[in-house]
Amino acid sequence: MKTDWTALSVFILFFLLVTVIGFVAARWRRATDAQHLDEWGLGGRSFGTVISWFLLGGDLYTAYTFIAVPALIYGVGAQGFYAVPYTIIAWPLVFLFLPRLWSVARRKGYVTLADFARGRYGSKSVAVAVALTGILATMPYIALQLVGIQAVLDTLHVGGSSSFGKDLPLLIAFAVLAAYTYSSGLRAPALIAFVKDTLVYVVVLVAIIYIPIRLGGYGHIFHDAATAMARTNPATGKPRGSMIPGAQAQWAYATLALGSAMALFMYPHSATGVMAAKDRLTVRRNLAVMPAYSLMLGLLSLLGFMAISAGVGKGVKGYNSQLAIPQLFQQMFPSWFAGVAFAAIGIGALVPAAIMSIAAANLFTRNIYKDLLKPDATPAEETKVAKLVSLVVKLGALGFVLGIDKQFSINLQLLGGIWILQTFPAIVGGLFVRWFHRWALLAGWAAGMTYGTWKAYGVAAAGKPGTHFGGSSANIPVIGQIGYIGVTALVLNIAVAVVLTLVLKAVKAPEGVDETVAADYVADVADTPAGSDTEGPEHGRDVIAPVTT
C-alpha cells in the first residue's frame, strides 16, 4: 500500500501544534517558585475544574485504551466490553476516597501516594513498596502508549523498510515529548489534553454515526459480528468469542470490571492528576462529571464490531488486532479525516505518556531518592532529579517497545494491573482508618504480589500452550470460577494483612508514628476564622482548614 500523504500531513500538522503548546506551557501560569517539585510535578497544585477534567480524562483514557479496548472486542466479543462497567463503577468508587486523599496530600504536602503511606504509617518500607509497585506498573503502561503510536504509524506506512528507518518516526515523536515534559512538567500535558480530548470527542461522534451508516446500520453490524464470533478458531478448536458472556464467563467479567476500577486510582499518574487540583470541591465536582468519558469509551468499544463488519483484517493470517481500529478509520473515512483520527490517537498517547513519566519520576524522587538516598535534598534538587528521571523512564519504555516483543509489554501491562491493585489496602484503608499494622500491610502486599505474579505466569496465551503471562484471568480457589487474578490476590492480601495486624497488635509490636490527624482528611483550601490553624503545607502558600468535624 502507498503512503496516504493527505492523512499524514494532517497528522503531522496536529503533532507540530501540540509540540508548540507543550513548550509554551512552561510559561503558562508561571510559578513564583519554579524550582519546587510542586511546580514541575503537580503544576503548582493550581488546576481548576475544567483543566482538571481534561487532565484526568487525557490521563486515564489513553491512546492504548482507544486501540486496545475495541481491539479486544474485535478479537473476542463481549468479554472485552468489561471496560464499560469498569469505567462506570470507577467514579462512584473514587468519589468516596479521592477527596480525602486530596485533602491530606494538600495539608501535608504529599506529592505521591507513597508519600501518604509513609506519613500515615510512619513506615519507609511501606512507602518504598508502594513506590516500587507504582514505577513497575507504570513503565509497561508508557510502553503501551508507544504501541498505540506505532499502530497509527504502521497504518500510515511511515518509515523505511530498514529496522532503524521504521522506528525513526517513533523516536522523533518521543524525543519531542521528552523535551517538553522536561521543560514544562505537568503543565504541558494539561494544556495538550485540551487538543487531545477535543479531537477524540469529534472523531468518536463522527465514527459512531458515519460508520454505521456506511455499513448498513447497527443491526447489520451486530449480525456480522455474531457470525464472526460463532466461527471456530482452528488454533484453539473453540469459537472465536461470544456476543453475550455465558454463565462460565460472568465471574471473570465482573471481577475484571471491579478490580480494574479499584486499581485505576492506585496508578501514580491518576493520583498525580488528582493532587494537582486546586481545591477539594474541584476534585469532587470532577468525579461527578467524569462519566462523560465512560460514555465515549463505551461508544468507542463498539468500533471493534464495526471493524469486523467492515471486513478489516479478514482472512489475514495472524492478524494484529491492535491495527483493527486505525485500519477501520483508514478504510471508512476520507483521507483528511483519517488524518484527524490518527492525530487523536497519536496525541492521545503523548498526554498520558507525559503524565505517567512525571508521576513515576515523582515517586522515584520523593520515595527512593529523598527517603532512602539523600534525606536532606532541597526542593530544587528534588525537581532536578525528577526531571532527569522522567527522561530515564521514557527511555526505558522506549527500550521495552523497540527491544522486546510488543506482546511482552502488553502482558506486562496486564501484570502491572494485578500488581498496582496490591497497594489498595495500604492506601484506601489508610485514608479511612489507621488500623492496619505497617508490617502486616507489607506482608499482605508481598503475598498479593507473589500470588498474582505466580498465577499470571501460569496463564498461557490462547492457542499457545506452554506460554506465560498470556492473560489476567485464572481459576479462583474455593469459589471454583474463572476470575480476575488481581482481585483474588487482593483478597489474599487483605486476609494476610488483617490476620497479621491482629497478631501484631496482640504482641504489641511497635506501630509507626502517624503524622496525620482526622481533620487532615477533610481539610480544604479555605478562609479560616482568625486564630485557627494557620500552618499550611510545607510549601506554605495556602491556609487550610478542616471543613467538617
Binding site: I88, P92, F95, M243, V289, P291, P529, T549
Partner: protein, 90 residues
Amino acid sequence: MSQPTEAKLPLVTPVRVVCAVLLVAPFVALLWVDSYATDKPAFVGIPFFYWYQLLWVILSALMTGLAYVLFTREERQRRARRLARGGEQA
C-alpha cells in the same frame, strides 16, 4: 443562645444514606452480570447486553451528580455550623 444539640450533625444523616444508595446502585446493577447477559430486547439493532450497560453510563452519571449536589450542600451546612461554634468559643 447556644444550642449544643444542633451544633454538630451526626455522622450518619438521611442525606448521607441517600448518597450511599446512589453510589452503591451502579455496583449492584453492573457486577450482577447474569441480570443483563441476554441479547433481547434489542434497541436499534444493538443487543440488550450492550445498550443496557451504555444506559448505565448515563444513569450512574446522573446518580453520582445528584450525590455530589446533596453531599456538597450538607458539607456546607456542617462547615457553617462548625464556624458558628468556633465563633462562640472565640
